[in-house]
Subunit: 286 residues, 2 copies
């Protein structure tokens, strides 16, 4: 099987690693806007060969893992270039705009809209990890629009990689992912900003920071080139979650000002049930 | 050496574990408001014996690891009960009120005000970990008020446990710790609350949550009984950090509403330097 990975960083590179294990006979071609990324991916043996859109007609499977703004412009061209028996899937963190964009594309049946909920705060080919997707959820949107045998080809791979599949419409996906992923990134970035601003003249104050602080600001290491376009495409949902978050913080502040520490205790106690919820989330060993 | 641990949970229990290794001849006495905690600590061999304030005169070292509201009422009584050659130190996350409270205590010289920046989101005797404090910062306030040979006794232990010591006045401690610890807990609790509220009718939406979400809400598992009193004692500093955080979130939201995605990119890019800062923080292996 000829597999093309377009965008050979954390997400695409981790797919490449698993595919090499699961289908040792497959040949993996890499396409990337950055030539140094491609060279690095070759050196790391993530890909067998550098390639270009001109070769896409040879592909049996194309994995597109590029920022969501470029997905919208590139996926139509990629679909134009592949043959009728090729399955193309992406890993974008937003699904609404891209599904709308491809609605009338003559090769819509070759595309499977995916969002594997996996990643780390790192990026680039060197961030690729074997088994990144094991036990993770892969959300598939509008599955009925993909040709059945092409669905099967992709799903067989996902299954062998150990992913859990969930089907969802693009609207619901974008709405819920704003809460459980996009908002976390904003809270983390702004927490990092607040502390950096305050402590810029007292750098060794970070000696006081412990693993709790590290955990809450971990996502502030994430790539702006990946995240700015996500916030743009999911603007309405993200603004809504952000307003609710700010409202909750304002209420907490008011309880502090009112010396309502029983209320604060109760808020925290109610939120403690997040323990049980989090027990269900598979984590990356680091 | 007779060591008394008052409050035998994560913090006190982890001290007990290290002391057993470093000073195998020491005898560890446990005092706790909860008899079931004491029984658990005995069963886990964190302590050698259950004890009470009546025996405190036998102590060479007393470690007080109880919520900060109880610290304020209990530390004077503990100092009253110990002999002149005993060092008493605490692990409270606030230092201002307790240092003021003990200012005129006749045994002020027996007390060393400490805040070891270490912990996990778990609590109770079973949460105690060997080596929890290795490489972690221990902030000591008003060191000059403690008798020199008693300072030495505690510092020798901290050194053998592998802690880094920093000296600070209680005002500065409480101000900075609000940024690098207390604010993280509020951001995490309110993030958890926002998502739980939204998704309460759609529990399986948490299937969509990945390790990033888990990381940002990890602290929302923390004990309300420990944290409500911390927020109360450090109210003014916490309110100030919270206002700055909310302001930064509001500005981010406004950039979203203004379609200023270049500004959003720049914000994230500037905050990315948190990477270098975080590289200096020692983490617990979990």
């Amino acid at each position: 099987m000829n597999v093309f990975v377009i965008g050979i960083g954390l997400i695409g590179g981790s797919f490449a690693k698993d595919i090499k294990l699961i289908m040792p006979d497959s040949k993996i071609f890499g396409i990337d806007a950055s030539d140094s990324h491609l060279e690095e991916a070759l050196a790391l043996k993530l890909i067998d060969e550098k390639s270009s859109y001109n070769d896409l007609e040879l592909a049996d499977m194309v994995i597109v893992s590029i920022p969501v703004d470029v997905l919208v412009t590139e996926l139509p061209k990629i679909l134009d270039a592949v043959n009728d028996d090729c399955v193309v899937f992406d890993g974008g963190s937003t699904k609404n705009l891209i599904c709308k964009q491809l609605e009338e594309h003559p090769k819509r049946r070759n595309y499977l809209a995916c969002h594997p909920i996996a990643g780390t705060e790192f990026s680039g080919p060197s961030a690729a990890i074997e088994g990144l997707y094991k036990g993770k959820t892969n959300i598939i949107c509008e599955v009925e629009k993909t040709a059945f045998k092409l669905q099967e080809r992709a799903l067989e791979l996902f299954q062998k990689m150990g992913m859990r599949i969930r089907y969802m419409n693009p609207d619901a996906h974008d709405k819920h992912i704003a809460y459980v992923s996009h908002l976390s990134h904003i809270s983390s970035f702004m927490l990092g900003k607040t502390v950096i601003e305050k402590e810029k003249n007292e750098r060794d104050i970070f000696d006081m920071a412990g693993s709790g602080f590290e955990s809450t600001v971990r996502l502030a290491k994430s790539s702006p080139a990946m995240w700015a376009p996500i916030f743009k495409q999911n603007k309405n949902n993200v603004v809504e979650t952000l307003e609710e978050y700010i409202q909750n913080l304002e209420e907490f502040k008011q309880m502090l000002l009112d010396d309502n520490f029983e209320g604060i205790y109760n808020e925290m106690n109610n939120t403690n049930k997040i323990k049980e919820i989090l027990n269900g989330i598979p984590l990356n060993k680091k």
